[in-house]
């Protein structure tokens, strides 16, 4: 579904990320792990076409991102950031936002929003404004806003990083079930290798602005590709 070849992303004139080769299959959940500032979010922004590569290319469904109509491509994806970034409107209106952008009819919007706010457990908050939600509630709304779009590709940038451990564990469980149920393709960024193992088919390790290794949790733990990956794994809380 996605092929990345010789990718170089520069930010503020500096190399932010290098990926020589990476394939993501349809229906796969790939988790990207790595230390702070390693380039994980840069990869997601590039996949969302929100950052332009300085070199190399990203191919989506056999066509380079450069060849895709920008809006058409962006409407195939859903991006969830670390912060919920909800708009100053009600939960319902927030969840409906992407559908409104796509010109989906009111009836369909009502139906789809209803389904997803129920699925994410925020139905009772539907008339509440974003500013009145707790961190966990806001993140659930942010996930509902992404899922309601029924995208081909989910890009999730540490969506649970700021939550307390019980809420985080519950949301990981819910997200895992949702991704598996519908065989969704997703790229999920996290710091946490256990979370990564729980959610994903494969894990990509980015350290120091370069993709170092791709494999299962077990493969990476048993055979780290190089010293940087080994050092990163040792620094992780056991």
């Amino acid at each position: 579904m996605i092929q990345i070849r010789d990718l170089l992303i520069q930010r503020n004139g500096l190399d932010a990320l290098r990926v020589n080769s990476l394939n993501i299959e349809r229906g796969e959940t790939l988790t990207v792990v790595g230390p702070n500032g390693a380039g994980k979010s840069t990869l997601l922004l590039a996949l969302a076409r929100l950052l332009k590569p300085s070199h190399g290319e990203i191919i989506y469904d056999g066509k380079s991102l450069k060849q895709w109509d920008e809006l058409e491509y962006r409407r195939k994806i859903s991006f969830v950031f670390q912060a919920p970034l909800l708009m100053d409107m009600t939960v319902e209106q927030n969840v409906a936002l992407g559908l409104k952008f796509r010109g989906v009819s009111k009836n369909q919007t009502y139906e789809r929003v209803g389904k997803w706010i129920k699925q994410l457990g925020v139905e009772s908050l539907s008339k509440r404004r974003a500013g009145q939600l707790s961190g966990g509630e806001a993140q659930r709304v942010s996930l509902a806003r992404a899922f309601v779009l029924d995208p081909e590709l989910f890009l999730l940038d540490e969506p649970f990083a700021s939550l307390d451990p019980p809420t985080r564990a519950k949301l990981i469980e819910d997200l895992s079930a949702l991704l598996k149920a519908d065989h969704r393709t997703a790229v999920f960024v996290t710091h946490n290798l256990n979370e990564a193992a729980k959610l994903s088919h494969r894990i990509a390790v980015i350290v120091g602005g370069a993709l170092r290794q791709v494999g299962t949790s077990k493969q990476i733990k048993m055979n780290p590709a190089d010293e940087t990956v080994k050092a990163f794994l040792q620094e992780l809380p056991q």
Binding site: A48, S78, F79, L97, F101, L149
Partner: protein, 217 residues
């Protein structure tokens, strides 16, 4: 001067020229301020510093420059706009546009920069993204509108210089106050000042109530 049809005409003209100048400033300031806030291009900081300086433009300096431009022998003299309400609107637009532009840029820059990416990541077109950013910054944008209107309804230097304070044609509340004061008619000047203050208060009260409605969660 007593409260008669002349004062009514002066009041209406004051409101008309200031409202039109504010609307034109909004039409200029909203897109330019948005472009400056969201753009990432060489010279952006320089343009922003010019706009910010423009926010403190002395009205008499604006009046002088606009008068030179519109003077009969000036580059735009053949338009015959000097000493007309249009000349006052032009001068007031020059005063208010940097205020609206600068405050629009500041309002949008105060938003979380990831909000742009989030909206695009949800499939917004560029136009939809800008619309929703304006919506999110609607309270400071309303403040920008109020500041723009406030800067022109209360100015006197530019209106006097390019309008000429001609009775029945270009006399507005502020220039009428100056005239009455210069004649020693302090009672009239105070009455006109009170009228100007009440009008400004009522307009800002309306805008503030809209703004406060927006802040209620």
């Amino acid at each position: 001067m007593v409260f008669n049809s002349e004062i009514f005409q002066i009041t209406i003209l004051s409101l008309q020229v200031s409202a039109i100048a504010t609307c034109i400033s909004l039409l200029i300031g909203l897109p330019v301020g948005t472009w400056l806030a969201l753009g990432n291009f060489r010279g952006r900081s320089f343009i922003l510093s010019i706009i910010n300086t423009g926010m403190a433009l002395p009205p008499v300096v604006v009046g002088l420059v606009v008068a030179i431009m519109l003077w009969r022998s000036g580059p735009l003299g053949n338009l015959r706009l000097i000493y007309t309400p249009i000349a006052i609107i032009i001068a007031q637009t020059v005063i208010a546009a940097p205020v609206v532009t600068g405050l629009t840029a500041a309002a949008l820059e105060a938003l979380d920069p990831r909000l742009q990416q989030q909206l695009l990541g949800l499939g917004a077109s560029k136009g939809q993204m800008v619309w929703y950013l304006w919506r999110e910054a609607r309270l400071p944008l309303l403040a920008a509108l109020m500041a723009g209107f406030g800067s022109v309804i209360s100015e006197v230097g530019a209106s006097m210089m390019v309008g000429g304070n001609i009775r029945g044609q270009t006399r507005v509340l502020t220039t009428a106050i100056v005239l009455e004061t210069s004649k020693g008619e302090f009672g009239q000047a105070l009455a006109l000042s009170t009228l100007l203050l009440v009008l400004t208060y009522l307009i800002n009260l309306g805008l503030t109530s809209i703004q406060q409605r927006g802040t209620k969660k």
